[in-house]
Amino acid sequence: MTHGGELNAAIAKLWSRQRPEMLRRVDVVEDAVAALLEARVEPEQLTEAQRAAHKIAGSAGSFGFGQASDRAREIELALRTGVSLADAPRLSELVLGIRRDFGPETGDGDGDAQRKQSSAIFDTTAFTADVMIVGGERERAREIQAQLTRRGLRAARAKPGDDTALRSDAPIAVVDLIDPLAHRFMDAAERDADVIVVGLANDAGLDARVAFARRGGRTLLPGDLAPREIAEALVAIRERLTENGARVLVVDDDPALIELVKGALRGRGFDATSLGDPVHFWQTLEAVNPDLLVLDIEMPGYNGVELCQAVRADPRWAELPVLFLSVHSDPDWVRAAFAAGADDFLAKPVVEDELAQRIDNRLERVRLLRDLAGRDALTGVANRRKASEQLSRLEGLARRYGQPLTLAILDLDHFKQVNDSYGHETGDEVLRRLGRKLQDEFRGEDVVGRWGGEEFVVGMYGMPCEIGFDRLEALLVNWKHERFVDAMGGEFGTTFTAGVAELPSTADSLDELQRAADEALYRGKAAGRSRVVAAGERAAEDVETVDIAVVDDDTALVDLLTHSLSTQGWSVRVVDDGPTAVAVLASEPPLLRARVVLLDWDLPGLDGIAVLRRLRDRGVLRSSRVVMLTARGAESEVLRALELGASDHVTKPFSVPVLVQKLRQVVGGR
């Protein structure tokens, strides 16, 4: 499913949950219009209806009901400016129109059923694990779970026919095929290509493996394997999921040739795995999940042609490049190799450069695809998704081996001014240069990625915070000497601010680590920029730091926003009235610090503009950006908000993807 499709599906689910509440609001408006028609309307009723119309106007459009939103806005405007009986026909028409927009209603019972069903669906999203252990003897499953937990993976157990197993979102499932109900899980897994199914079976022969693979299984492990070994295999599979470099599996019974190939590949940044005994071929193939396979033809047990045929017989490996190495250079063997599905054939003795070049050629396409998917096109460092995956892997390693993981988030100072003053091309050059600088400075196990806009992230595995801090400081000193030339030939330099945090001393999870580093970065910004700040000091303070604070009392809209923003990886905190917003955001010291505050205009207790004024007076706007959410389109009111320090305003109803894009820009343009 595409990202847009997922978002739409999520919005549809949210709508099914919010619909009753939305219809209740329509009821409130309708009650007021009916009372107006019956000449028994009270001012309080009109005020309540105006509030309900305001909420419909603000959120219906975001659920895809743009026309309903327009109608509700017209009602709100009419109610605000005062209505008489003469307005009743138009108001009635608008109310009926909104009901038409929302579609036919179901009875209360149906609605409840629908809500319950939705809740059940949502419940599955809360169930997260890295590995799902399905079936098998209880004690053995518990032991595997314990082994996985020790290795930093979240593991859960379920019966093969259990809903928990079928609805799990764990990327890996280990299934005991001895369990009589295992086929039920396999039936479900066959339909879900995203799950890597690892089977445990007494019969782990080639035939059984092919049959298992055809049912959607990935790796078949012998059933008598110790829990520790199973856990190790699962960890290896898990790590393969998040690894960066292209993987080559070399199957040859000649240790010398293996060393030769490995040497050739290492020099080009590839990860080579060797296998001397073809009997374990399938198991190794599944575990390594290679990008290229190098096969010898003549081996004990199975020859290379037979292995190649087995590989090609499995649709999942149909695209895997296969290169043959053999002393048999006679036409029959070569023909047999190509007939089995070989992509290339190289006769032994192998010339190292030629082998390397041929492998390189075959992997070029793989490399290109990987680069496209995981690299930031401008700076050449990992993109946010890839960097997040790598950081997650480092987190697992750090936990497993008790090593520290230091995370730094860097942000170029006044980058918006660079773009504005020297043009975007020059701005891009600054980003490119910083990307290169970071790649030069941090290598090996370190993760370097572009976090978004002018923000970079560096993950330093096995490195304490103090050393990471020093490296960043050294980089900053070095960076300050970097000179850039603008289009007019003038020279200028830039600085950056960085926040550094360490796992586990300043944070317990990767999310917390990111927040801590981000918060340290904010402190550095607030303190005047061009510095590196460690998160240690802040850990002592009771300040919650989030990416986005949503200040809005419309529960439907808040639900939608929270879901949408969270799926973007942003931390979100919701405040539902004006006085609380002031208390948590503008207190001294603040209880909540947000990079962006989405501030609704019409709030209970204290309206958005008053909250904005308090935030400005307390200096909160120096570290937080405020985006006003308003159903008001009046120029003067928008200007008023901008004059008070709001960074932007979004008119309700708004498109969620557009809002997310705006927030990216706001967060990035800090």
């Binding site: 009916a34 009743a88 109310v95 009901r99």
Partner: protein
């Protein structure tokens, strides 16, 4: 002893009678056929000449001469056949031919006949061919109801004050056909009716007023409004209902106010008529009152109120939709039925 000759004599007598009867019939048929053959040409000539005279292509005298050449009943046939299709000058010419040919004079004479069917024929001829002033007016009070009804038809074509008065009086006729004929005639009279009708409505009551209101609904002039309002308080429920219908045609604030009051009439007919009238007037501010009538004890009132609400657009539809949840299941039921009608179903999303 039995005379064997007797049955034979009887048979012979019967046979003779049969032969005589057949001979008589055949003779009559032959005579008729001979008569028709003899008249065919003069009848065709007379039709042609009368038609030409009516059309202005022959003189009235020629037509009269041709008509007079025919037996009297044939003369009537020729003229009566043409009459229903003629108007204006052509009709006046035909009336001239009829007069000169002695047909109208004969009809005027028949109007005084002691035999009712002759008077009826007189009224019919004068209705068809014109004339009859003085003679037919009397027949509006004829003891025979068939004659009165036919005379009313003549009266629609000769709406003198006296005739109109008499027609209005006929609204209280004890027999239905003369009443119906009088109403029909009055509706066709139009403007000359207004003044006497207002006078009647000003003083009438009961069933006479109800009939007059029915006529007034066809005329529908604002001058009738005060009388209609007055009759909305008539003792007879039918009269109040008729006044509601008339008020629904007349419109205006006074009419609306009266109709809103009639929604609470003790009898169902005026309530139903008032609900219908408010719907026809498109008076949407009445939606609240009409919604109240959805709980009426009488089906017709509930139905008319619901249909009126539907015809009042969004305000009515909105309240109808809300009535679906009414505690009164009859109100909810009628709302459901009306909202299920195709045009309303497109507008309103019902639960």
């Amino acid at each position: 002893m039995i005379d064997p000759e007797v049955p034979e004599v009887t048979a012979l007598v019967l046979a003779a009678l049969l032969v005589l009867a057949i001979a008589t019939l055949l003779g009559h048929a032959i005579r008729q056929r001979s008569h028709a053959r003899r008249l065919a040409q003069p009848l065709a000539d007379a039709r042609k000449t009368v038609t030409q005279a009516v059309d202005g292509r022959a003189t009235v005298e020629a037509a009269v001469t041709a008509a007079r050449a025919l037996p009297f009943d044939c003369r009537i046939t020729v003229l009566a056949d043409l009459a229903p299709t003629l108007r204006g000058l052509q009709r006046e010419r035909l009336e001239g031919v009829a007069r000169e040919a002695g047909v109208l004079a004969a009809a005027a004479g028949w109007a005084e006949s002691r035999r009712w069917w002759r008077r009826l024929q007189a009224a019919r001829l004068h209705t068809l061919l014109g004339g009859g002033e003085g003679a037919i007016e009397v027949l509006l009070r004829d003891p025979s109801w068939e004659v009165r009804a036919e005379a009313a038809q003549w009266g629609a074509l000769h709406p003198t004050d006296a005739v109109v008065e008499q027609l209005l009086a006929m609204l209280a006729d004890p027999r239905p056909l003369p009443r119906f004929a009088a109403k029909d005639a009055l509706r066709r009279i139009g403007r000359p009716l207004i003044s006497p009708l207002i006078d009647l409505l000003g003083r009438a009551s009961g069933s006479e007023a109800a009939a007059a209101l029915e006529v007034a609904t066809a005329v529908a002039t604002p001058a009738i409004l005060p009388a209609a309002v007055r009759l909305s308080h008539d003792e007879l429920a039918e009269t109040r209902a008729r006044s509601a219908v008339l008020l629904g045609v007349l419109g205006g604030e006074a009419a609306i106010g009266t109709l809103l009051a009639l929604l609470h009439d003790p009898d169902p007919a005026p309530r139903a008529a008032a609900a219908d009238a408010l719907g026809r007037l498109g008076h949407w501010p009445a939606v609240a009152e009409l919604t109240g009538r959805l709980r009426d004890q009488e089906w017709e009132v509930r139905r008319n109120a619901a249909l009126a609400l539907r015809s009042l657009g969004s305000p009515g539809l909105l309240l109808l939709r809300r009535a679906l949840a009414d505690d009164d299941r009859f109100a909810a039921d009628v709302a459901r039925q009306v909202l299920d009608l195709p045009d309303a179903a497109e507008e309103v999303v019902v639960p």
